[in-house]
Symmetry: C3
Subunit: 338 residues, 3 copies
């Protein structure tokens, strides 16, 4: 079936998966690329058309063209970052997802309210240094992608270390020692069901190499040579212990339920809960991404979880296109555009 | 082909894979779930029927029903744990595997005899603290799933640390510094062949995050905040260096050969050798699981190894169902039930 | 289609993948195995014929037989190591790849010239200890596979540590703290295109377990018990952040372009760039392998990247066979044999 709409996205992040999935569902595809970034989308033959823009402001200039082409935009993290969360609402091209949920996700206080009301366990936040009563991790806002984050064992340690970061905005978070588990979901606005799309763990530079340096060497080397950074450079596939799965399913369902209260019609489409599992099997959620995340990229040919349910390769990108196609067929396109 | 038997298992551990595989081979499937744990088996649509029980004692009450339904039980680690290894033998529902091998696996001394006679290299066990002559790892029996394990560099260190664990049963094992490699096999009672089903490494909380904390921070933080635990929360797919593969195949074959001597007709079906590979390329085996393990869960759509041999997705769960189906077709069902 | 040529390789390294891929493309396959190493090639049914040799000198004795059988040899790292890079050139059996590029790859100085001219960023090499002005890693030549490598924080530290390795040849390399990313490519001599085949990270003993020992324990244990080694025992699948992909594509293309200048007709077929990504998103290349590497073994049923481009499972092994088949069909076999 050839679908009379086109799927478009910005050439970055998870665009290969989104465009490939759209083609598998019969859509014509458009990659909107920064000049010089077109190559992957040509090489992998996933884009029927590539629109090159000089910078991300150029994105506004092609709105009319996209509307004329009957394009539906699939947002991803780079899309939101480049466009600016505040400007997404005004963007006129049909958009997959609920735009109004974005403010609940991008504002850390609102995000906490949402997740807490959904019954999720969150790491404690210390509003002022004086409140610190256990080891904490200090994270900086905005760009930099995880550089400079530091651990402090108590308030004294915090005060000493924060001096090296003057004028930076930060958040002081309870340090939870456990392993990361990124859970990927898809909520269907057509069926109301929340599916599990897979799990991954991130591959971060340099912190995922740090353990390869012996403790003796780490201590011998100058501190600045072995300070951890948390810059994401890749993703590793993983499966979760099956007895934890019903808890993850419930967490996903509760997040959706609460989203309907705070921002009707609620979150739909793909989303990700970023969690840490402790040795006591507590699952802490430290963030939600209310859209497709790059942690689904290992599963372009399906994940162990999507292969359970589908008898064909079902990436998150393809699942999005499938939902749009079904909506078109059922005359419910308005249910998937926000 | 619709098979006149049903495949049943307890809803946990690797049940998704077992049930999906059974359906692919044409079986009707039954998931036996604790109340509240049904969700994954509904969501992934792998169970034709879900039987809910209040607690694991409820399992005995449904024996007659399962027999009436012509169900064959596929055991996994949670099944054995919940039912109790001693009670499995008395369980009347047809059961895939050799029940008599269970005592050789669950009794650590018998397990050592089995593996040693099969020619595998095992870490040394120190029967009394006085024998400790090298670094050791001290492991506790029973539940707790790897919490509290500790390293001791010598007898003095051991004596100091064991004091914090009064009244616990433990085993003192030579500490082998190498990387873990979990090897998954399937021995066919019909063909006698031992196949390689894949490899994985476990993802354990919190020990697999420990290296992400710099040595300086680990030492600065209170010890109890950075003590390692080994609670399995997931599995990561992996391939083994090809030149080690013939050794792994031989290890698997030898384990099967020896199992036929100690407990005829021997081990059959899936099993796992839990190994560590040292920098000298010695392969130490520290445990055998005589049934399907969760480390095969990444391979619901086949592993790199099963794709070599089969031209269709072959999980370990499906491989079990395939064997049962072939046994039925060849009128040899007695060869696969134990 | 049955192809009137055979694909042959030495039974080790990535032979399973090469032979399986060849069969998928319609070739008859030959595994040349050391006595005792035949098992994997039988078990996985990828070899139509197994030729057993006593030792690698036996390889010369079967040259005539291979030529008679119309065999084309696919080289891999074990093949080059066992045969000797200098003897490969004289080997008379048709060979996939450009033999003349081997000297540029095996000679570390030539390799640096090649990669530097291709515009890649390389870690600095210190020709004499006196030049050391930052933390370095010291690597030993030849066999041993990564055992004994050590870090030194300055010249004094280097001088102290090198004493424990008398009479060894070594290289002193700038220590780059980042995470490893192994990028797999395929350059088609028929189309001129450089494809991305996937990414992996190595699994090395014991260094990938080191972080699982707490810093306190590492320091308590005798140094020789916790010294890192870098012996490859497996590979883990990974995907790279999509925004880094165009840089990896360019790096691959530039390496090919430069190879055509230094050694016409240049490198073709599979190759691998071994890189480290720093927190500043610099990509350092520390080595090139001008042939198939074992890091493609996780992708016997295709990688996330080959599934983007191909609608069938495309391993690197199969891609090689596909290229040879196309060359035969187009009467251009000379373009792929070197």
């Amino acid at each position: 079936m050839v679908v009379p709409y086109k799927i478009a996205t910005i050439g970055s992040h998870s665009a290969l998966q989104i465009l490939k999935g759209a083609k598998e569902e019969g859509f014509t595809t458009i990659a909107i690329c920064l000049k010089g970034r077109e190559k992957p989308y040509k090489l992998f033959k996933v884009a029927d058309k590539i629109i090159t823009i000089k910078d991300y402001n150029g994105f506004y200039d092609i709105q009319e063209q996209l509307i004329r082409e009957k394009a539906i935009i699939i947002p991803h993290a780079s899309f939101i970052t480049y466009l600016g969360a505040d400007k997404v609402e005004k963007f006129k091209v049909p958009y997959f997802g609920n735009k109004k949920i974005l403010e609940w996700e991008s504002d850390r206080s609102k995000e906490r309210i949402w997740l807490t009301k959904a019954g999720l366990k969150l790491p404690k936040i210390f509003r002022k240094p004086e409140d610190i009563d256990r080891p904490v991790i200090v994270k900086f806002h905005g760009a930099g992608g995880g550089k400079g984050y530091f651990l402090a064992k108590n308030i004294k340690d915090f005060k000493r270390k924060i001096k090296m970061h003057p004028d930076k905005e930060y958040v002081i978070q309870e340090y939870i020692l456990g392993v990361h588990m990124y859970a990927h979901y898809f909520n269907s606005p057509l069926t109301g069901e929340t599916e599990i799309m897979g799990f991954d763990k991130r591959y971060e530079s340099n912190v995922d190499s740090l353990g390869r340096i012996s403790a003796r060497d780490q201590i011998a080397l100058p501190k600045e040579n072995v300070d951890p950074s948390y810059v994401i450079v890749g993703n590793i596939p993983i499966v979760v212990r099956e007895s934890l799965l019903s808890r993850y399913i419930e967490m996903g369902e509760n997040v959706i339920k609460e989203s309907k209260r705070i921002s009707p019609p609620g979150l739909f489409g793909p989303f990700c809960l970023e969690t840490v599992i402790t040795p006591d099997e507590e699952i802490y959620c430290f963030e939600i991404s209310a859209r497709i995340v790059a942690g689904t990229n290992p599963y372009i040919h399906g994940s162990p979880y999507t292969w359970l349910r589908y008898n064909e390769p079902m990436s998150t990108g393809r699942r999005i296109a499938r939902e749009i196609k079904l909506a078109i067929q059922q005359n419910k396109l308005n249910k998937v555009l926000g």
